[in-house]
């Protein structure tokens, strides 16, 4: 299905929660959505007969701009062979949005990684712990404003 058709279909169901469609080349066209509604939108994308996005290819955390973080969902439908990119932008002072791990189980570890690296908090996640860095790590390393800690467990970190 074409990106414009998907966009119109979403727009018809969710209205103002579907914020914008961007089709600037050369990146994949993407749809910006209201982060608070991401869970409902993803359920719709998976279960709607004409969309059938049965696979979450990737879920990434992005340091979007000065004040915002983003959670990016790359979706693919094996059944219908079409794909879609969704972005949910959250403010840095309160980076919270609902989990989609109940929609696609693979999102569980992806969301843990996005939490670990970017500090995005996925509400309703069953087990939101750090996944790569140690449990007692300070900060979220892939943020642009990240400052490396001077010592970790008594070991000097900077060169």
């Amino acid at each position: 299905m074409d990106i414009n058709e998907i966009y119109n279909k979403l727009k018809a169901v969710f209205g103002d929660d579907i914020i914008e469609l961007k089709t600037d080349k050369p990146v994949d066209p993407f749809i910006i959505v209201n982060p608070e509604k991401i869970n409902a939108i993803c359920y719709f994308l998976r279960d709607e007969e004409s969309l059938q996005f049965d696979s979450l290819s990737c879920l990434s955390g992005v340091d979007f701009d000065k004040d915002n973080l983003a959670s990016v969902y790359h979706l693919y439908s094996y059944a219908l062979n079409h794909k879609l990119v969704i972005k949910a932008i959250v403010p840095k002072e309160k980076p919270e949005l609902p989990t989609v791990s109940d929609v696609w189980a693979t999102a569980e570890w992806h969301e843990r990684e996005a939490y670990d690296m970017m500090g995005i908090i996925y509400t309703g996640h069953p087990d939101l712990r750090r996944i790569l860095t140690p449990e007692d790590w300070e900060g979220h390393p892939l943020r642009k404003d990240y400052k490396v800690q001077e010592f970790y467990n008594g070991m000097k970190v900077p060169y």
């Binding site: 860095t133 140690p134 390393p141 990240y146 490396v148 970790y152 467990n153 070991m155 000097k156 970190v157 900077p158 060169y159």
Partner: protein, 172 residues
């Protein structure tokens, strides 16, 4: 007798060869350097070169160096690869479990000083010598098996020249 020739000229034989006199230092050092059982600590791409060194082409066994699965069996630890801060705590614990005398070889740029991660690697320990004492540094990214062999032979030289009872040189 071929092995004992390595102790020359600090060896004297009497009679038909059943009585041998040498110094305690030389005998201990010789036995230590001839069977340096190593603990593998393959952490990154250096581990591939280390495995190649152990394999038949370069054949570490001819130096008496064989890999052991437990730190309690080991004389040397061969840190080959990038030491992350998460792994550094494990290295320290395993090092503490090794019996004295013990030695450490740091293999490759990452283990020596952080390597390519020295500036932006927030998770990388900038040199394993910040956690455990290192006897021999093998440079390279990764070092060839020949370079690792050179490092091991350097360590053998170090062991050969140390003294158990004289305080002139640090044992470990």
């Amino acid at each position: 007798m071929g092995l004992l020739n390595k102790l020359d000229p600090h060896i004297e034989q009497f009679g038909s060869g059943n009585i041998i006199i040498t110094t305690v230092d030389k005998l201990l050092n010789w036995s230590r350097l001839s069977s340096m059982w190593q603990m593998f600590f393959g952490l990154a791409c250096c581990a591939i070169e280390m495995m190649a060194t152990s394999a038949s082409h370069y054949d570490l066994d001819r130096f008496g160096i064989i890999p052991r699965p437990s730190p309690r069996h080991c004389d040397i630890i061969l840190i080959s690869g990038t030491v992350t801060l998460k792994m550094a705590t494990r290295i320290k614990r395993l090092w503490d479990q090794m019996p004295e005398p013990k030695y450490c070889i740091s293999m490759g740029s990452c283990a020596n000083c952080g390597g390519p991660y020295w500036e932006h690697g927030y998770h990388v320990l900038k040199g394993v010598d910040r956690v455990i004492p290192v006897d021999v540094y093998v440079p390279g990214c990764p070092p060839r098996p020949e370079a690792l062999l050179e490092g091991l032979i350097k360590l053998q030289e170090k062991i050969r020249n140390q003294s158990t009872y004289q305080k002139t040189e640090k044992v470990s």
